[in-house]
């Protein structure tokens, strides 16, 4: 569903992605790991269409469309969800209002009828329940006064409500304790790979740590270093990174390239 080919991108005049290629098929969870500064967050931002990131080469195809041609809100309506590493506060706007407007804006782009207040609340309650959030929390302002863990949980509730085809989750596990990590990981499973599997959904999981992958089991693991994917393997690659560190894998890879 997502095909990235030879993607080059820069921000503030500095080249960050230098020929990144990656493919995610329907039903796959693809983990991206890599050292700080490798370009992981840049990849997420470029996919989302954040201003300030310039694509200087390559292509991204998403569900048959040229993703890079779409505005950020059109990408969302097409089914792309970005889980933010640092979810943003929107004072004065409740989660309920924010998500209902967002969902109905997406539905409008897709020529679907808007959800009524009642329909929306029912949906929101169900999805919040998956993440152990109650409605009181959804009535609070978007991310205002939320702890780090609550913010990440709220991101997953948003994902549940917006029901994307592809979730790009940027270090969703950062700032979570072990229990919260389990809740969020199981939330990802429940939403993006519901019982019996979901052939029409994919996940790009950006993470530093194996512990999230213990819960959300990836089909593929890629290592991103210096703006490129330098190695792709199965779940065992993540275990190897955990044991040996990035340096060893990178050295081996660079050595092989030399």
């Amino acid at each position: 569903m997502l095909k990235i080919e030879d993607l080059h991108a820069e921000t503030a005049g500095k080249a960050i992605l230098k020929g990144l290629s990656l493919e995610i098929r329907s039903g796959e969870v693809h983990a991206i790991m890599g050292p700080n500064g490798a370009g992981k967050s840049t990849l997420a931002n470029v996919l989302g269409g954040k201003p300030g990131y310039e694509v200087t080469g390559g292509s991204v195809e998403f569900l048959g469309e040229d993703l890079l041609e779409l505005d950020p809100h059109e990408r969302a309506a097409a089914g792309l969800f970005l889980g933010f590493q640092y979810p943003v506060e929107v004072p004065g706007v409740s989660n309920v209002q924010f998500l209902r407007e967002a969902l109905n804006a997406q539905r409008k782009v897709r020529d679907e009828e808007p959800l009524s207040g009642g329909e929306f609340l029912k949906l929101a309650k169900e999805k919040a329940g998956l993440l152990g959030m109650d409605m009181d929390m959804l009535k609070r302002h978007v991310n205002v006064g939320f702890s780090g863990g609550e913010k990440k949980r709220a991101e997953m509730v948003q994902m549940g409500i917006l029901a994307p085809s592809l979730a790009v989750l940027d270090e969703t596990d950062s700032g979570l304790d072990i229990d919260a990590l389990r809740v969020v990981g199981e939330g990802i499973n429940a939403i993006m790979r519901p019982q019996g599997g979901a052939a029409d959904k994919g996940v790009l999981l950006i993470t530093h740590y194996q512990r999230l992958l213990d819960v959300v089991k990836p089909d593929l693991v890629s290592v991103l270093a210096d703006g490129r994917i330098i190695e792709t393997g199965g779940p065992e690659l993540a275990l190897r990174l955990e044991n040996e560190g990035y340096d060893a894998v990178m050295a081996e890879n660079l050595g092989a390239a030399a």
Binding site: G48, H73, F81, F84, V90, P91, E101, L103
Partner: protein, 503 residues
Amino acid sequence: MSDNLDIQENPLSDAPEMDAEAKEAAANAAEYEHGWSAEIDTEFAEKGLTEDTVRFISGKKGEPQWMLDWRLKAFRLWEQMEEPDWAKVGYPKIDYQDAYYYAAPTKKVELDSLDDLDPDIKAVYDKLGIPLGEQEVLAGVKGAKKVAVDAVFDSVSVATTFREELKKAGVIFLSISEAIKEYPELVKKWLGKVVPQRDNYFATLNCAVFSDGTFVYVPEGVRCPMELSTYFRINAENTGQFERTLIIAEKGAYVSYLEGCTAPMRDENQLHAAVVELVAMEDAEIKYSTVQNWYPGNSEGVGGIYNFVTKRGLCQGDRSKISWTQVETGSAVTWKYPSCVLNGEDSVGEFYSVAVTNNFQQADTGTKMIHNGKGSRSTIISKGISAGKSNNTYRGLVRVGPNADGVRNFTQCDSLLLGDECGAHTVPYIEVKNPGAQIEHEATTSKISEDQMFYAQQRGLDEEEAVALIVNGFAKDVLKELPMEFVVEAQKLLAISLEGSVG
């Protein structure tokens, strides 16, 4: 009045019979949602302002001698006064002799029911988008929630509804012209007592030439059984609009009054100098809400209303309360400081304001809280939103008199900037002559962050929807003070006012 622009009929279509000029005019009109003017015959006072103009207006309205004398006194004062220039606004010098001071619809008045209303005027109300509840009321739907509408069309009150029901409760709700004739003692007692005739240049001008407005009297112990609302609208080209409102709440009375304005598309600058006076006696409460959407001028800064308003409330009785809530999105120039004079012990003044400026709009607005009574309290929440090349100033005064012990004030002024060509300014004046006063002032200035915009857009909102959402969140503390009927309208207005201000 031949240039009736009907924006319903797709003004941008390439109908061959439309010449370029008409097309441009129609496109301009479409830019401003309420930018149209209806064809209604208007009777003008001659251009210019002299004693004769004042006599003409007074005579036209059949006023008693005392009223004419009062107007003439104000006119003579005004002639001696200088237009103020201390506000942070700039506009071409107004030629007061090149404007009309009176226009009245010639098909008129005194209706038993709304069916008798001039169909042209009815159509105007329809285009105004008077809220559904009120439309039902206007249409006479049984069981509809009652909102009394005293519609001011141009300068003369054309229709007043629910007068009878209000009368049963003892509430007097009339145009001020009628009140002058029917309740002269009440009017004489309070007119010019809250805002003195010589208060300021624009207020004094209003005293001389006020066209019409609203009078409300709520007697002792009466809770007004419905929200009172008035729609103002400038309709005649080059006609100043000088509304005059007087609301009196006797001991233990309560009234909530809503005022909403829209104005048609015009190239000429139009002067609007209203005066509002409120009086709250012991334990009385007045809630005064405004949604102001006068024509702001086009995106190049041409045209638009000059809105020089004097609004003041007198908390005369102990434990009285006056609450101003305003959503100001229109006008080319706004000069407006709804204030409270807190004379009563433990009286309460509140000011909640959202002021939006876009393109070349200028707003200098705020409040004055004058604490004379012991234990009086005030709250000021001001939210300024600036976009385009506009300038938005909060100017506020908190004054505590020497005998006012135990006064408290809390002020919060937040400014939100869209883009980097606009300005936000905060000018607080604090004068405290009693050492026991507790005054708090908080101010913030922020920009809509790129991160907030991207976050909202990534969830599916387009750029303008994202701005509207963020701005409405910013203004929430004020919007929630509005009566229910106005909240949605006000939210939409904020969004409309900021269209085209991003990207």
